[in-house]
């Protein structure tokens, strides 16, 4: 009977969604710090930015979400990748 009360209300879905996103955010952050291959680490940071920009949308901050998407996901990643091309790829 108790199980039946756990219907998927939009509210619950929303909360579960944010919970998962926040969890993924932390995992992506840890990944980008631990990963020895710097290319993968940079992919990790851009993933952090991507999740962040979705979270900003959920927090009703579309302006910030757009900024994070344009700057964090696209531009910062590009700059990191260019810097990586000019230096070495692996962490010793």
């Amino acid at each position: 009977m108790i199980l039946l009360q756990w219907t998927l209300t939009p509210e619950l879905l929303y909360q579960a969604g944010t919970g998962i996103l926040l969890f993924l955010l932390v995992v992506a952050a840890i990944f980008s710090v631990v990963q020895k291959d710097l290319l993968m680490a940079i992919v990790g940071t851009s993933l952090v930015s991507l999740i962040l920009s979705v979270l900003f949308l959920l927090l009703h901050a579309p302006d910030v979400a757009l900024t994070e998407a344009a700057i964090g996901v696209a531009l910062t990643t590009a700059i990191f990748l260019i810097a990586l091309r000019k230096t070495g790829r692996y962490e010793e």
């Binding site: 710090v33 680490a41 940079i42 979270l55 927090l59 901050a61 910062t76 990191f80 810097a83």
Partner: protein
């Protein structure tokens, strides 16, 4: 509340990378993670349950049903500043690499603490 915890966690992960990691690019990654955590924290402070985005795009919206716009404006500024710092830091990394052919701070004598 979980927003606060997660963003503080991201910030601390970044700080950990800055303090412990030996690779210059990793350290810069740590700095940008610290920034990311702070930004999420600020936006989360301004959030109001049941609020809408602070844009009067439709006639029916009223001021008392909106989230706080101030932290959003601050974060916008902070993100751009973060990008600027990251770009300068990476330019320095490129120059250090050109001189020393390594990104490992243990091999660059003047970067040891």
């Amino acid at each position: 509340m979980i927003y606060y915890i997660a963003s503080i966690a991201v910030m601390l992960i970044g700080l950990y990378a800055v303090l412990v990691k030996k690779n210059l690019i990793k350290i810069v990654i740590g700095l940008s993670l610290m920034d990311a955590g702070t930004h999420l924290l600020l936006v989360a402070i301004g959030f109001i349950k049941g609020g809408t985005a602070p844009i009067f795009s439709e006639p029916g919206l009223t001021a008392d049903a909106m989230v706080d716009p101030v932290p959003q404006a601050l974060v916008l500024t902070a993100i751009v500043i973060g990008l600027a710092v990251t770009a300068v830091a990476l330019a320095l990394v490129i120059r250090i690499y050109a001189q020393h052919k390594t990104l490992d701070i243990r091999k660059i004598s003047s970067l040891k603490w």
